[in-house]
């Protein structure tokens, strides 16, 4: 273990010195326009970049180190802002003329686009856009950076039924064995988690039978939880041996740690959620912000995040990425596109209708 650490450290150090050279010499990274050097110089002059994100610093550690190594002289200040607090923090700080964020990176896709629409983001066409799929780009301002498949997860020691491979089988199982499997199913609570709502909104779009699934879930007295942490423990302990709409990027890591967890990519379709980044309007360090956003979308930035468990949107990386996840999902991966539909989902009337049906199904 000790020697392993030393070799990793040595390798990291080597990578650091190698990568550090171009920035020191102030050359543009390979393939970037020649005047990128000016951006790097200006960014180094600013000296730091502030990131607001609900991605905890454990998962962001690689990204932070990678960026600081690639661009010595710029410190990444990571701000652990809870998912529900990102929007408020950006809007409030802007209203007070105290913008503290350079880059905002959140899994609340709808609210991220809302911030773009309300003018809280600074448009910037990243130099990496050629490598980023169209669905992951919005008005040359916001970019989705990860591929997080939404999956089924079950406890393979406790769950004794034939494992449902798609939503139709899941619906049938919950419907026909509603009393026998009473309280055995769980899912993410769309009422308490904004990102769970976005996923279900896409379920409704992709699957005409999704309301039947919700009905069957209600009939089997399924339970809902507000955080990935609770869901993980409930399935792990077998209290609810089967759950759907779990973030597969997390679940894959859990299953590696605990052998009794198994992840299933629904074969009808697998939604790919993501987290989206943009540069803040009036960012205190606008150049460093551009540099950081480019780095997040670059090959090495994407690989650093993928190494921490969040697969890359690019296809030319050596780590888990769109293609590898899509392969695991049997080619049925469907991204949540950054488009107007996300904004429509924020309309109170539309949400009200969804929640009325949702509650009706759950309280039957």
């Amino acid at each position: 273990m000790q020697t392993l650490k030393i070799t990793t450290c040595a390798a990291a150090f080597q990578a650091m010195t190698l990568a550090a050279l171009p920035a020191h010499a102030q050359q543009a990274p390979e393939g970037y326009p020649a005047d990128y050097v000016d951006l790097v110089t200006a960014a180094v002059g600013e000296g730091e970049v502030n990131v607001y994100s609900p991605t905890d610093s454990e998962q962001a550690e690689g990204l932070i180190r990678g960026f600081e190594t690639a661009f010595p002289g710029i410190t990444v200040k990571w701000n652990d802002v809870a998912s529900g607090a990102v929007y408020n923090r950006v809007v409030s700080e802007a209203a007070a003329g105290q913008v503290g964020s350079d880059v905002v990176w959140s899994n609340g896709l709808d609210l991220q686009l809302q911030l773009v629409e309300e003018g809280f983001a600074e448009p910037y066409k990243s130099v990496e856009t050629a490598h980023i799929p169209d669905w992951a780009q919005y008005k040359d301002t916001a970019y989705s950076t990860t591929v997080e498949p939404i999956v089924f997860m079950y406890n393979n020691t406790v769950f004794q039924e034939a494992v449902p491979k798609n939503r139709k089988e899941l619906t049938e199982l919950m419907d026909t064995k509603a009393s026998e499997l009473n309280g055995k199913f769980a899912t993410f609570d769309p009422e308490k988690s904004a990102s769970a709502y976005v996923v279900m909104e896409n379920d409704v779009k992709n699957d005409a039978g999704f309301t039947t699934l919700v009905d069957a879930f209600g009939k089997a007295r399924g339970k809902v939880y507000a955080s990935s942490g609770q869901l993980r423990e409930k399935v792990l302990s077998g209290e609810h041996p089967f759950a759907f709409n779990i973030n597969g990027a997390y679940a894959k890591g859990w299953a590696e740690k605990s052998s009794n967890l198994t992840v299933v990519y629904p074969e009808d379709y697998t939604i790919a959620a993501s987290r989206t980044a943009f540069i803040s309007k009036n960012a205190p360090n606008p150049n460093a912000a551009k540099l950081f956003l480019d780095y997040m979308l670059s090959k090495s930035g994407q690989e650093a995040v993928a190494d921490a468990g969040l697969p890359s949107v690019r296809s030319d990386v050596s780590t888990d990425n769109w293609d590898s996840v899509n392969k695991e999902a049997g080619g049925k991966l469907v991204p949540i596109e950054l488009d107007a539909a996300l904004l429509e989902g924020l309309q109170p009337a539309k949400r009200g209708e969804f929640f009325r049906n949702w509650k009706k199904a759950l309280n039957q």
Partner: protein, 562 residues
């Protein structure tokens, strides 16, 4: 009597004004926000009652309100008698092992309720360790930790330490001679307790009823973990739902519920003031130093006491802390899992590799120990300002002290985030630990201040009056007579505040920024990404450290007294 207050009016009024600014600024901001159609800083927001109409026409609101009232009453009905009896046994009787018990009693307070609730799931949940073992031997377990009745039971039992702390501080200062007198006149143990000790500690108990009612109203962690799976909705979990219901966060709706919570304290404080209006009667620390004589329990008394205490310890400490401890050392648990096959130390490894967590540990300790001392200093100033002061000022103080307790920590944190953001001269402080400290001082206000006030109430006025007639100023009287007498109360308050600050999580969610991370709030994001294994490891370390610190403090405190 008039003379005792005359020369301190300036001090009293300035302390009251400072408290007013600290407490009323978040409260008024929330009140204002509740009458708007959007965020208060948005030029598009208009004044109106829309948010009230929305909340008051939502059947879920009434359901949550009803459940919350039941929950609060149930919690009080359980924690008050048990806490008072426990305090009596520890401070006034020769209960075996009481020194040891004193250090352990407070343990349920060391963890944020969300983590505590999770501990219960691991121990006695449907697939909990204890439940599975029981089912193996006896068949289906007769308990279900989800639902209102379990929620009330667990909340009641885990709030016993709150009552214990307040009543034991009061009981410790009782003069043994009064009890002795009753005993020599032939009264039994329980007669003494009922007729002598009870009236003397009544003020402390009334205080803790008020506090615990508010605690129950703003409780979030336990209802979320133990109530939610059974569809039990309380006001705080209802607020949680409100944040996403309209798409963009709708703070005006949250503010309305917060205003409803605030409204509850008015009748509560009114009743409390009525009950305590004659509290001067109970001043018990007279001029004569009295040695505490402990009541002998006898063999059967010891046995009965320990049976009860043992049951309480098992449910309130062994189950939740045991559950957390187990989760900290395994990578899997529950049905069909042999824990011994899944032992691991990996959960602890992550703790030492994350920069933010290390900063979080340092910041949390700073806030708890140094910030806690500063907070107690502030509470002492406020307590003295209100000491032997009657009239409108004191009434205002009583109401203001309990106000912040009515607000969930998340909302206090949000209000202070806005205050530090929008008040120009405060802006530079927002990104420092100072902003968190101010919010924390307000969160801890009712806990800390009440502990100090309860002890102050017991100082007999003769002591102060004699100092005054000997020519001492009111400042000298406080510095030389009052403060030394209430020193145990101050130490108790500091301990309590450290514990509260260590486990606080909601307040920091909006306020913390890079460099001011606190453990409690980092737990929130760890929870979101699923790392309950890391959380369990962190929580276990924190329990062990807090217990250690408390034992150490008791030892040191003990030496100071000798």
């Amino acid at each position: 009597m008039a003379k005792t207050t005359a020369d301190a009016t300036g001090f009293r009024l300035s302390a009251l004004a400072a408290l007013g600014i600290l407490v009323l600024s978040p409260v008024l901001l929330i009140l204002y926000q509740s009458f708007l159609s959007g965020p208060f800083f948005s030029p598009l927001s208009t004044l109106g009652l829309d948010a009230y109409v929305y909340i008051f026409s939502d059947p879920d609101f009434y359901r949550a309100l009803g459940t919350t009232v039941l929950f609060a009453l149930g919690t009080i009905a359980i924690c008050m008698p048990l806490g008072a009896v426990l305090a009596f046994l520890v401070t006034r009787t020769d209960l075996a092992g009481r020194k040891w018990l004193e250090a352990v009693v407070l343990v349920p307070m060391f963890l944020s309720a969300i983590v505590l609730g999770f501990g219960y799931t691991v121990a006695v949940g449907p697939t909990g360790v204890v439940t599975l073992a029981f089912e193996k031997i006896f068949g289906p377990a007769p308990w279900n930790i989800y639902g209102l009745s379990s929620l009330i039971l667990i909340s009641g039992l885990t709030h016993v330490p709150h009552v214990y702390l307040y009543s034991s501080a009061a009981m410790r200062n009782l003069p043994g001679d009064l009890e002795e007198a009753a005993r020599t006149s032939g009264a039994g143990v329980w007669t003494v307790a009922r007729h002598v000790t009870w009236p003397l500690i009544m003020p402390a108990l009334v205080f803790s009823i008020g506090l615990n009612v508010m605690l129950a109203f703003e409780a979030f962690g336990l209802p979320l973990v133990l109530g939610d799976p059974a569809g039990v909705l309380v006001l705080t979990t209802y607020i949680y739902k409100l944040t996403t219901i309209l798409g963009v966060p709708s703070y005006q709706l949250m503010a309305v519920v917060a205003v409803v919570l605030l409204a509850i304290i008015f009748p509560l404080v009114f009743i409390q003031r009525k009950l305590l209006s004659r509290s001067r009667r109970f001043a018990a620390i007279g001029g004569k130093g009295a040695r505490v004589t402990r009541i002998r329990l006898g063999k059967s008394g010891q046995l009965i006491a320990w049976l009860g205490i043992g049951a309480w310890l098992t449910i309130s400490i062994v189950f939740p802390i045991g559950g957390i401890a187990i989760r900290a050392f395994v990578d899997s648990w529950g049905a069909g899992v042999n824990l011994l096959d899944h032992l691991t130390l990996n959960n602890f490894e992550q703790l030492f590799s994350i920069g933010a967590l290390q900063r979080g540990i340092t910041n949390t300790l700073l806030l708890a120990v140094i910030g806690g001392a500063l907070a107690v200093g502030a509470y002492l100033i406020i307590a003295l300002a209100g000491h032997r002061w009657s009239g409108a000022g004191h009434t205002a103080l009583d109401y203001m002290v309990l106000m912040p307790r009515a607000l969930p920590g998340l909302i206090i944190g949000l209000a202070f985030f806005w205050i530090f953001l929008f008040v120009p001269f405060l802006q530079p402080l927002r990104l420092t630990l100072f902003s968190l400290l101010v919010a924390y001082i307000i969160v801890g206000l009712s806990y800390g201040l009440r502990l100090i006030q309860a002890t102050l109430l017991q100082v007999a006025p003769e002591l102060e009056e004699s100092a005054r007639s000997a020519g001492a100023t009111i400042g000298q009287t406080w510095a030389r007579i009052v403060i030394p007498i209430i020193r145990p109360g101050l130490l108790g308050a500091w301990t309590m505040i450290m514990i509260i600050f260590l486990r606080e999580y909601a307040t920091g969610v909006y306020l913390m920024t890079n460099g001011t991370e606190v453990i409690g709030s980092l737990i929130v994001s760890l929870m979101a990404s699923g790392s309950l294994d890391t959380i369990a490891a962190l929580a276990l370390i924190s329990v062990v450290m807090t217990t250690g610190g408390l034992v150490l403090a008791n030892r040191l405190g003990g030496k100071i007294h000798e």
